[in-house]
């Protein structure tokens, strides 16, 4: 599995706090129910969306096909200097 531990924990905890912990502290009043529903749904949908994006990329089946100019540039800026010879 290509999953890395840190982002999963960070985002799950983040949305967990928003969706599970914050509703407990929703201000009392006529709008308490609505605020709880809003927080929970926001957390659920946003976490699910992030999770799908993460899982779709952790074990990629194809890679990007890039222009050779782009490849040169990303090799230059993303720290993989170009070696001589053929691949």
């Amino acid at each position: 599995m290509g999953a890395s531990f840190v982002p999963i924990v960070v985002f799950t905890v983040l949305w967990g706090v928003v969706g599970i912990v914050c509703p407990i502290f929703a201000p009392k009043g006529p709008n308490r129910g609505i605020i709880q529903v809003v927080l929970m749904l926001t957390a659920a949908t946003c976490w699910l969306f992030w999770l799908c994006a993460y899982m779709a990329q952790m074990n990629p089946l194809i890679g990007p096909r890039l222009d050779n100019e782009t490849l040169i540039w990303i090799a230059h800026t993303w720290g993989n200097p170009i070696a001589n010879g053929t691949k």
């Binding site: 982002p7 946003c46 779709a56 890039l66």
Partner: protein, 902 residues
Amino acid sequence: MTLCQLFLQSEAAYACVSELGELGLVQFRDLNPDVNAFQRKFVNEVRRCDEMERKLRYLEKEIKRDGIPMLEIPGECPEAPQPREMIDLEATFEKLENELREVNQNAEALKRNYLELTELKHILRKTQVFFDEMADPSREEEQVTLLGEEGLMAGGQALKLGSPYRHAYRSAVMFACNYELSIHHEGGANTTESMTRALISDDPNKHMGHVQLGFRDKQESLEFLPCFVAGVILRERIPAFERMLWRACRGNVFLRQAEIDSPLEDPSSSDQVYKSVFIIFFQGDQLKTRVKKICEGFRATLYPCPEAPADRREMAMGVMTRIEDLNTVLGQTQDHRHRVLVAAAKNIKNWFVKVRKIKAIYHTLNLFNLDVTQKCLIAECWVPALDMETIQLALRRGTERSGSSVPPILNRMETAEEPPTYNRNNKFTSAFQHLIYAYGVATYREVNPAPYTIITFPFLFAVMFGDLGHGALIAIFGFWMCYKEKPLQAKKIDSEIWNIFFGGRYIILLMGLFSMYTGLIYNDIFSKSLNIFGSSWRSNYRNDTLADNKLLQLNPDSEDYLQYPYPFGIDPVWQLAESNKIIFMNAYKMKISIIIGVFHMLFGVCMSLWNHIYFKRRISIYVEFIPQIVFLTLLFFYMVLLMFIKWTSYGPTPGKLGSDDPDVIRTSAYCAPSILITFINMMLFKTDPNTRPQCDDVMYAGQMGLQKMFVVVALLCVPIMLFGKPYFIMREQKQQARSQPLGAGPEGAEGAQAENGAAAGAPAEAPHGAHSHEEISEVFIHQAIHTIEYVLGSVSHTASYLRLWALSLAHAQLAEVAWNMLLRKGLMSMGFQGGIFLYVVFAGWAAISVSILVLMEGLSAFLHTLRLHWVEFQSKFYAGEGYLFQPFSFEVILDSAGQAEE
């Protein structure tokens, strides 16, 4: 919601209804539906209110005409006045209206006078010019060439007088005049010279004398005096006027006209019109009458113009003084009118509110019934059960205000009627509630999807819209509208489009915020990507390979991929991969569309469970909810699980990149199956014949067996859905028939069961009483329709959610096109002129971005989200057959009246 009866003492009725109107929590029913509007009890009062409103509208029109600003009511609306105040108000309005009408009439008369005097002034000035021209023969351009005797014999010369195009009939006129005169003329040129001068001669006798020279012996001599009329006519009518004169008088009249430079004000219409002064010379009474008639026909106003210059000068001076006097009087009249209107403008909004409230109260009182003793009014109303206390308080307040001693009575009534649906909303939730109600008002006490729509609607919109930049624009717009809510509301802007946007300001704000989030996940800001955390892809190609190949692909099963994904969203490298970005994004977006869709639909089915529990439909839980959820889960949620399994099971193995080990290959990208093919094969009970030799034909152990079981169980759910409920209803009816043998003959079985069912009142099955009214065949058909709708719907709705993918693809592509075709050209241009070019190109790119990408795509995504909610989500549980609770509320009435008048 309870149906209540309200007993009000007649004196207290007005005040109580007023208090209830302020509260806005009671919906009255019409207890006199058969009574004509003109026969109701309070029809006179309503008529008086209408009359007052008419007067107020007249006042408002006058105030608007003068452009006086009307003060808005600050803060609270004024309360409905007491009935005795109504008489005072009526008197005030009457007085104001009469005063205003009088002032207007006077002003009109004065203006008419003023107009006449002004026209007379112009006439006097212009005719002076005419007479001057004719009297001065030394002037070159206006040379008066008279016909001499020789000239006459020769056929006459043209008489040049001013504009050449008139010379035709003018010459003819002069020719005719001269011809008549010359026959009898006594001298040579002398007489003819003096003939023209005679036309304008100072001495009227001399004038008559000269001309009459030849005619003295004729009796009709007096008729043949060349006289003139002077007047004023609209400029547009002059050509037709001339033609008519020429034809009617056979060319025997002579017209001279001059334009008045400044426009004059028409008194009745207050328009500025251009007029011309004209003077017509003619001879004889017949011509005079003809000329006068023609002038009348063309609505030219004739004025008495003295012939002698001295008289004219005197008249002119008199006219000037009178004009000045009139001006002063007019000014004072206008001032007075202005003062009256300003005083009225201060209170007019207030008065409108009061009058509308009174009218509303009397309309409501008309709905009441008068009881036998004529002392008390009876009303029936729907009242939210939780608000009974507040309403009682309001009624008590009303009774105190009216000084009545008898307290009003609010009685609950039992009824089998369906009450109206009332969902309490605040300004935030009401917009979402309206979105739901636009499809259909919820059945009484049904679960309300609006609170969940608050988040799911913007979220689904954002999945289709996903762009950080465009989302930011929408969010800013929404935020501005919400921040400036009060001032914008106070402005009362007329435009309907603005009102639609403003009404949905919270929706727009949320849509913008969620779009920013999905834009971050899609890594798309105006079609560019952000590289916040560092891409997980590297280039390992060497320079010779790079030099030889234009396009090269990175291989995830190698060092190219760092074996851990970009932590938040789509890797920025994909935006650079213009050739195969779409392939990856399609696979990703289609999967997330189905995942989100299946979750949304499962949520919808769960809402139906809520409904069943509340309405105590236990049978429905077993034969409707459970099969529905099993069907959806075993087929479509299983497909979602397959997607997650594929995401985790197939891909590069970190320790063994590019290995040939068959175990590694089995879990590599080479062997990843297509979810769609897998699903189709599952439904058809097949295995994929085209599996590659190195690959397994299953994704996990036991897949085939499990899938077969899922399909069988899901298909078994269909007959349960189809026949379960009708079977139970039939069984129930038979039970009731057996338990009530009296009066339950076979033919009366259905009808008797209805009554018995209701009378026996099995408590948990009370709602089923309604069902037993139905024919059993109806129940079967009903259930069949529901089942088919659900089963086929689950397939089609799942596919329908793919629009989330389609629209987000369209949006991304449009953004890319806009950038590449427009802004890139500007950014790549060099030098100073490049700067200017970029400035211009940016304007074009921004215009396209806002109009097409934000507005058009936004509207499109909004519509599709709405459809997804209304059809795919709500069809799983929503009945929507209720009617809205429309309480008697002054706020609502005043708002709608305010909008109606605009």
